[in-house]
Homo-oligomer: 187 residues x 2
């Protein structure tokens, strides 16, 4: 749980007493390679804080084609946030690519900690602000950019993933063909 | 300013004293048709709460082609949020399509009111949550959907804009050609 504390204190400092209380709302869970933390159609009860490992959040269109919304690594939060906040059924999958550990939390925890501790409302607001900015960046890239620009944005966002990830996944994330990706690599 | 109060109280109730204090941080401004509230390259000092009128947030690629990120109408908030939060130069434009009024605020106000009033930190968190969900929805649509699905999502999001907006702007927002849009209309 020390990792959670560092993560929160990166944004707002906590007393020992506050952290003792906060941590009771999170549960640690081991995740195995290829395990699904979320499947389309599930009730979305949880959000996850990544302690270790690598995960992908994706959805399938009607033809079964896969689209990757994000990869998540250490200190990233992940869920089907649309469904999580609106208490609807999942429309995305979360699959583990490299085994690791996550902390599991709930919407009730998010709302309760925010109401009880101004500091935690601040923490969640700052996390959301960062998330909002990242999504806006992704929209601008999707709307306009060339494969070259998308690739550069990917390298910037996930510098340490470039070697480890199968090229197939990177191509899906960028929305380009394998051939286009190979051309980008060779530059 | 009564409109601002209703807008905030939709999320959290305020005492008269609190609202008196909050409203001193917002300035009302009239905006004329075709006026720019933000231009690429500007320092992004402000965010805007729309009281009336209609606005578009867009950017230009290197070839000068225009891409619309969002339309904003009554009660919507708008800025180049990426630049606003990170205190960078604007990469987008905000132009007034139909004259109206906005409230002008700053990042300093957002942070100050959030720090001083737990209720306002809550208000901003909830607004961000809604914004985050909307952006995620837009990403999923951009990644996968057919022009037909994008059009339906647009109709759902902006039911009252369909008649008033030039078809050219709707086509730009959807990322489809004018011809494709005409086919969608005729269905």
């Amino acid at each position: 749980m020390e990792r959670l504390r560092q993560h929160i204190e990166h944004i707002t400092s906590l007393t020992n007493e506050e952290f003792e209380y906060i941590q009771t709302h999170f549960t640690k869970k081991r995740v195995l390679k290829n395990q699904y933390l979320l499947h389309e159609g599930d009730d979305v009860k949880n959000e996850f804080v990544v302690l270790s490992g690598l995960y992908k959040v994706f959805f399938l269109d009607e033809q079964g084609r896969e689209y990757i919304i994000q990869f998540a690594k250490e200190n990233w939060w992940m869920s089907d946030y649309q469904a999580f906040f609106q208490e609807k059924k999942a429309t995305v999958f979360i699959e583990c690519i490299e085994a690791g550990e996550v902390l599991v939390s709930t919407l009730e925890t998010r709302e309760k900690l925010s109401a009880e501790l101004h500091k935690m409302e601040h923490f969640y607001r700052v996390k959301l602000t960062n998330g909002y900015v990242a999504l806006q960046e992704r929209i601008k890239l999707l709307l306009s950019s060339t494969p070259q620009e998308r690739y550069e944005a990917f390298v910037k966002l996930y510098p340490d993933l470039l070697q480890g990830l199968p090229k197939k996944l990177i191509a899906e994330y960028l929305g380009v063909s394998r051939e286009t990706l190979s051309r980008l690599y060779s530059r």
